[in-house]
């Protein structure tokens, strides 16, 4: 009797053990295999939810785990049904359960191998056509974890280069300078102002940095293929929009009625006065950059204070010994009437205009500077695109050119603002972290950038669609037979336990 009891206890322990080694083990192993996928931004969009100290994950990368759980759930439902339907014959029940286990293990493998593989091959072919290399089905199915980790390293390197800290971007304030509010678009991983542009304090997400670079370089390359320079084309287009009084841009600025626009579905953000409200006298945007008036004020203070300083007078002869000042009396200029006009005259009077022009544009043949030139220099640093008005590029008709214009603005001007320059300028262009005390890193070439973007795109498409399935498939393949065996063992032990019980004879009244 005691021995029987002991046998039953041992059998029960093994029964539970074998059950755990079946489907629960497979689900756990799929979870382990999905680890790199969950951590990868492109597979899982950097999605991680937090409730207090508890982390949980959502997104495509966890799908493999859910499929695993679903398979297990199907088995459980099958077991319950069997218990109801096949009441007497235990061996029949065992046989059916084992067959069910085998089917729900082999079925998904066959489904993936025969129905999903052609899809993969088709995608692979379409990428190969575009000159983008994608690993074969066989390699991906076995080395997806390694590929995902390699890709994550590339993502990290990209983010370091362009000084992007958060995969899903960060907005430093939901309120723009002019008080307008920005809205988050989770799917784009971006924060937008009312005019559809990035919010003032938005630092690119990985996705948006990719999009800007793609819009910039792919359109540039497309124009190059046609023997055109997109930057010159853009400049001409913008000049045309500015100078043509009947251009949509000028109509927009003047608040013309919507029916006079050539654009379909055009609508003002607030009303037809919005441009005037932002850039007119006392406009909402004018407070936020160095306007002509503001510069005049600063120069006036500068003139007054320097004029009142006596040491300046004693310093001037020293300067005169380095630069030929001619008949110029600097002290007489230093008063509160000092203005940009006077400064421009002084520079031109000293014959320095040409030198300055050539500093900015080595091909310039002009010998004098004017106020517009000075403002051109300052514009990059102190212009303010009102979040409540459309920029001029909104009115460019050609889609490619328009995308390029926006990308150009985001990459160079917005990027310079937030310290994440995406496209460098000048002789030895720099990108990334360019601030008061950091000078960025050398910019990768157009070809390098496009190649990297292609890789990211191919990886994202393939990995989101197939890698979670591979995580499941890998473990179903490796442990499918083992799990089926364990299911059988668990059932067989049940029968054994029942048999042991039937051996228990009972003496009446004995507990």
């Amino acid at each position: 009797m005691l021995k029987l009891r002991r046998n039953i206890t041992a059998a029960r322990i093994f029964q539970i053990l074998f059950y755990a080694l079946g489907f629960p083990l497979i689900v756990h192993l799929v979870l382990v295999s999905s680890g790199p996928l969950i951590d990868n931004g492109l597979v899982n969009s950097g999605e991680q939810q937090l409730i207090g100290t508890i982390n949980y994950y959502t997104g495509p990368a966890v799908m493999g785990i859910y499929y695993g759980l679903a398979i297990w759930a199907i088995f459980i439902v099958g077991q319950l049904l069997l218990k109801l339907l096949v009441r007497k014959n235990r061996w029949t029940r065992t046989a059916i359960a084992v067959v069910l286990a085998a089917i729900i293990i082999v079925g998904p493998i066959l489904y993936i191998d025969f129905l999903k593989k052609p899809e993969y091959d088709q995608l692979q072919a379409s990428f190969t056509e575009r000159g983008i290399e994608v690993q074969t089905w066989g390699k991906s199915a076995s080395k997806f974890g390694e590929f995902t980790e390699d890709n994550q390293a590339d993502i990290d390197a990209f983010m370091r280069t362009y000084n992007i800290q958060k995969f899903n971007g960060k907005n430093y304030s939901t309120m723009n300078s002019d008080g307008s509010l920005s809205i988050e678009n989770k799917e784009d991983a971006a924060w937008y102002s009312p005019n559809g542009m990035y919010a003032d304090g938005y630092v690119f997400s990985f996705k948006q940095a990719n999009k800007v670079l793609k819009d910039y370089y792919s359109n540039k390359a497309a124009y190059e293929a046609e023997g055109k320079n997109i930057e010159i084309e853009l400049q001409q287009e913008l000049e045309q929009l500015e100078s043509n009084p009947s251009s949509d841009w000028n109509k927009y600025k003047n608040g013309a009625s919507e029916s006079s626009f050539s654009m379909e579905d055009f609508s003002y953000i607030t009303d037809s006065d919005e441009y005037e409200a932002a850039y007119g006298e006392d406009g909402s945007a004018r407070k936020y950059y160095l306007t002509e008036e503001r510069l005049a004020q600063v120069l006036s203070v500068l003139g007054r204070e320097l004029g009142e300083n006596e040491s300046i007078g004693s310093l001037l002869p020293a300067i005169g010994s380095f630069i030929d000042l001619g008949e110029l009396d600097i002290m007489s200029l230093l008063n509160e009437d000092l203005s940009l006009e006077i400064l421009v005259d002084v520079v031109n009077g000293l014959g320095l205009g040409g030198t300055l022009r050539q500093l900015i544009d080595p091909e310039s043949t002009e010998t004098e500077i004017d106020e517009a030139f000075v403002f051109g220099l300052l514009a990059n640093f102190s212009s303010y695109q009102s979040p409540m008005t459309y920029p001029v590029f909104y009115f460019i008709e050609d889609e490619g050119l328009r995308d390029f214009a926006y990308a150009n603005y985001y990459a160079k001007i917005h990027g310079a603002k937030i310290g994440s320059v995406l496209v460098g300028t000048g002789e030895s262009p720099k990108v990334g972290h360019i601030t008061m005390d950091a000078s960025g890193v050398p910019a990768p070439s157009q070809e390098e950038v496009l190649a990297t973007l292609d890789e990211f795109e191919a990886f994202e498409t393939i990995s989101q669609k197939f890698y979670p399935l591979f995580a499941l498939r890998e473990n179903l393949v490796k442990f499918g037979a083992f799990a089926t065996l364990c299911v059988f063992a668990a059932y067989a032990l049940t029968i054994y336990i029942d048999k042991q019980y039937s051996k228990l004879t009972l003496k009446a009244g004995v507990k």
Binding site: I51, G52, T53, I54, N163, Q165, N171, Y172, S173, M175, N176, S177, D178, A199, D200, G201, V203, K287, Y288, Y289, L290, R294, Q297, V298, S300, V301, L302, E305, L306, E308, N309, E310, S311, I312, S314, L315, A318, N380, F381, S382, A416, K417, I418, G419, S420, H433, I434, T435, M436, D437, A438, D498, Y501, S502, L504, T505, L506, A508, G509, K511
Partner: protein
Amino acid sequence: MKTFIKILLFILGFPALIGLAVYSSITVFQEGQSYGFLTFAGVLVLALFFIAYLITFIVTEVKAKKSKSKKVAQKGMVALVLVAFIFTGGLWIIIDVLLPDILDDATSGTLLFDDVRENYKVQAEVNGQLLEDFIVRNYANENLDNSIALETYLQEGYKNERVKFLIHENFTALDTNGYKAFTGTGPWVGLADADRLTIPVLIHLLFNEKEIDETLPFYLEFDRIPKEIIYDDMDPDKYYYGNVERDDPEAGVSWSVLDMAGSPMEISLGGMLVDMDPGLRTLVLSLIESLGPSLVGTLRDIVADPDVAGAPIYLGIKIGREDIENTGIILMPSNESRGVLDYKANAWLDSNNLLFAVVSLFPIRLWLYIWGAMVIAMSVAIGAIRMKEAKEEDEVQNEEEQNFSYREFQHTEYDDSDLDDPNLSPYEKAYFKAQRERIRKA
């Protein structure tokens, strides 16, 4: 003997936990002592938990003793173990879900749960240091009466009325006309703070029109102006001219973006000077020393003009006498002269009493988690002893009764009441029943 062991086990449970938690909290107590009872918030919570446990312990003990039955002792054990779990790890699992958000809100995201979780000692020291720095600065600019010794102020800390007044009133000015005015015009301070101070960000910070409450007073008795030229071998205290009495000690002040970060910015000129011909270098340095103060003074006036930045940024020239490389232009914020800390530090200081209350929870939390297992184990052990006590008394009293019932039972022949045993599976029950049925029929 059993009572002694029970007491010993009890002490090894919750009282030991209290001891460990208090020991870990000593730094927090020391740093926050001038903030009064809020510093002891953590210990108060712990005391409440202990009382709950103690009451359960006493009630179950008395009940077990009175009834002398094993069943009552068993129930008491279960109750004690459950209470032990709830008031150690159990409640904290729930609090841990809620606390990070509360902390995030309370500190506007400047103090994160995970940063303090195991780091409470350092955090307490940092927060304690803030008060000390504040007092030292306000003593140097004579906002605190210099006829009283600095040590006295340091000892009194937050209990000193003038210190408390300055902390809160002057922070209001820094907050409203500084930080809020800057953040009111967009993301620029945030970007500057996140190591993204680009030229456009700087221009926005300098030129954006801000909303300023000019009626807001700033309490400052003396102006403390840094010298235009300082030397790298100088004692930092000597960077300043003597304190000059302000016309109106309650006049409002304006803030520059440098005051938010609170630390000086240096633009090094050392590299340029090192490469220079020694004769020329001497000439340049002597020229700086003779003309510097006047020129720098003019530049300071220009920056402080309401038409330019509108707030004082103390430009200065640092001359490297010890190391020529140290030469450069230095931009000093006005925090030190005005006796405030940088914005974040000052914001913490402003709510330091609450922060100490929060920080004081962390050592308690940690030990409740760790020692929770011990408290539960001790509760089980105590329960086992109680059951043993009850059993011994049971055996003496009930022996006869048991024999009697056994004899009775044999007369009843077939009694199926044993099949109510919850340890039997439905299968076993059915099997036993059928088996007996068969024997009876035979």
